[in-house]
């Protein structure tokens, strides 16, 4: 595959920023650094973790075989049924153990995997009757964000998501999934369109961050994101946001203020890329694995910190290994939440959306 010119230039030119006093501050998206070429499969998890995982995987295979065997027996006794139940519990425990053994950096690589399903891959598999809506009616159409009408199991909905691409030309066209202000303004315009006609909104988050560039700053990247945050907090329709890959800082949050915020099992969500954090805090971009771990960016981490409402399981090996299975699992989870939300009266919905964010991330103590 021919390497696109822009991308190559970036990888050559990215240098860790010079150490500055008080530099422990994220200056918007330092996300360019996350564009640094990475080797998808380079593993830097420690050996002990790998061993634990290997053992768990072996036991899992054994138990699954056992369950199959037991289930094949016709006319199960109460005893057998109890046994199968116990084995299922063990399977769940092992799965959790395996899942937990993936380090934050491995997750980051999975989240950025080029074969991972993107927004339109899910749209194609989960929704029907997709009709794209273009443009912010002010400046341009931003291909880094797609918006449109669709049907979700027959219900009219709006879908909004950042869009990455695999092929060199397309990647440039989609700006590597990094939106400009007009992308966020298009998203908001379409959200208001959904609100006007009482249609629920699904958003799919997959961006390294909002684009850092001249034009983006001239046209108010900060303002565009800020307005989305405020408006989404009071939009009078149900909103379900799913981080399907990379949730990169404010550029991700700008479409993720929702009644339900879900994360795919191997997605990451952070205030800055591990590379960016490493080069600022450690003054060494190669400390990215350390930074990834320290920042707590995995779905499990965010769930424990109370910043998301649920984790969507992925097929064995990850979503990139099986798009159909990944979409089916996501569809199932989305349906559950959709059914709950559509039954909730709007005032109640808005109150609980507000309270959720109001009470989120409360980590302070009051000094006497």
């Amino acid at each position: 595959m021919k390497v696109p010119k822009i991308r190559k230039a970036k990888t050559e030119k990215v240098a860790p920023p010079p150490p500055v006093d008080g530099a422990q501050v994220v200056s918007g998206t330092e996300f360019l650094l996350s564009m640094v070429e990475t080797h998808w499969y380079s593993r830097n998890g420690d050996a002990r973790k790998m061993e634990v995982r290997l053992k768990a995987e072996q036991e899992l295979a054994r138990i699954e075989e056992q369950i199959e065997h037991l289930q094949a027996v016709p006319g199960q006794s109460e005893e057998t049924r109890r046994q199968i139940e116990q084995l299922h519990e063990r399977v769940d425990a092992l799965r959790r153990q395996i899942h937990a053994s993936y380090g934050a950096w491995e997750k980051t690589e999975l989240a950025r995997h080029p074969q991972r399903p993107y927004t339109l891959d899910y749209v194609e598999r989960i929704f029907t009757d997709w009709s794209e809506i273009h443009g912010d009616r002010g400046f341009a159409d931003d291909p880094a964000i797609v918006t449109g009408m669709a049907r979700f199991h027959g219900d009219e909905v709006v879908v909004i998501g950042q869009q990455k691409a695999r092929d060199a030309k397309q990647r440039v066209y989609r700006n590597f999934g990094m939106p400009h202000p007009e992308g966020y303004r298009k998203a908001l315009r379409v959200m208001h369109f959904a609100e006007k006609f009482g249609r629920p909104i699904f958003t799919f988050v997959d961006t390294d961050g909002a684009h850092p560039g001249l034009g983006a700053e001239e046209r108010g990247q900060g303002e565009a994101i800020a307005v989305n945050l405020r408006e989404m907090a009071r939009l009078k329709v149900p909103i379900i946001a799913t981080v399907i890959g990379v949730g990169g800082s404010g550029g991700a949050l700008a479409i993720a203020v929702a009644d339900r915020v879900l994360m795919m099992e191997n997605a990451v969500y952070s205030v800055i890329s591990p590379e960016g954090c490493a080069s600022i805090m450690w003054r060494d971009a190669t400390k990215k694995a350390l930074a990834a771990e320290a920042m707590k960016i995995t779905a499990t981490d965010l769930s424990e910190l109370g910043c998301i409402d649920g984790v969507v399981p992925e097929p064995e090996g990850g979503a990139h290994a099986d798009h159909e299975a990944a979409a089916a699992l996501l569809d199932q989870t989305l349906q559950t939440h959709f059914q709950q939300l559509r039954k909730t009266p709007i005032p109640e919905l808005l109150a609980s959306r507000y309270n959720k964010f109001r009470n989120m991330a409360q980590f302070y103590r009051v000094e006497a």
């Binding site: 501050v25 850092p212 560039g213 900060g222 994101i225 302070y364």
Partner: protein, 282 residues
């Protein structure tokens, strides 16, 4: 609760790196002229020769803008719990302690109530000297409480930003503060209570991408660096030098992203005039 009373001649310039103090004289790093320190202070820390606006601390802000320099602080005792137990080359907990020692604050913002030309207001002033004015759980909560105080008392809200953005050592916790504050501002907006955002040097990152750009009026001091992405990151992206004045207040004004650029001397009269317009007669 504490009352502060200061005279304008006693402005604190500690933590200001750009003013080189050589006894009673300072050299302006913009026009290179030697200025008598007393003259600079009497001029609200704006260079009397070239109008360069030097950074000032949060307390000086409140003193300059509120009547007789008097104000009543609230929520001044919130301390970060270091939720991620973050350690890079240095432990976040020790950075917090140091910043606290240097500034006498528990985090990078002061909430205050006072009067602005006789009108009671809620004012939140950010402290850049506290870890770059970065926003973590405490700043997020304190600002949200200022918004709620404004909503509860129906007093206009003024937030003075000076921040490098989100606080990396609190990871995604700091990111979520953007959503929290913006949601609170949506409620204030519904109540039609005035909110004026004052952007000062520097206001970047997550603060620009949330409350700093959500005022009924967004105004800035001259020459302030204001942007979402840092200039360094943009330079690396476009691989060329940024144009002169890029991301400065005047640049934003020219591109329609600010309502006004206001000299420090004019800040109080401007806000007062705007509040006359926005506050409905009872």
């Amino acid at each position: 609760m504490a009352w502060f009373k200061r005279q304008s001649g006693e402005l604190d310039t500690s933590g200001e790196r750009k003013v080189r103090t050589e006894g009673l004289w300072v050299k302006c790093d913009s026009c290179r002229q030697i200025i008598w320190k007393k003259d600079l202070e009497d001029n609200l820390n704006v260079c009397p020769k070239c109008d360069k606006h030097f950074r000032i601390d949060a307390r000086s802000r409140l003193t300059q803008l509120l009547d007789e320099g008097q104000y009543d602080t609230f929520d001044a005792n919130l301390v970060s719990t270091d939720p991620l137990k973050f350690v890079d080359l240095k432990a976040y907990s020790s950075r917090l302690k140091q910043a606290s020692k240097d500034t006498g604050l528990t985090d990078a913002v002061i909430n205050a109530q006072g009067k602005l030309n006789g009108r009671p207001v809620v004012m939140s002033a950010m402290e850049y000297a506290f870890i770059g004015g970065s926003m973590g759980a405490v700043v997020g909560e304190v600002i949200t409480r200022a918004i709620e105080k404004s909503a509860g008392t129906k007093q206009p809200l003024i937030i003075i930003s000076a921040s490098g953005g989100a606080r990396m050592m609190e990871g995604v916790i700091s990111l979520m503060q953007l959503a929290k504050i913006s949601a609170a501002l949506a409620r204030l907006d519904e109540l039609k209570i005035p909110y004026i955002s004052v952007l000062t040097d520097p206001t970047t990152g997550g603060v620009t991408a949330s409350f700093a750009m959500l005022g009924d009026l967004n105004i800035a001091e001259p020459g302030a660096l204001i942007g979402f992405a840092g200039p360094r990151v943009i330079e690396q992206t476009i691989r060329q030098k940024l144009p002169q004045g890029f991301q400065r207040s005047e640049f934003l004004l020219e591109h329609g992203m600010l309502d006004a650029v206001v000299h420090r001397r004019e800040l109080k009269p401007y806000i007062s005039r705007a509040l006359d317009f926005m506050v409905q007669a009872a």
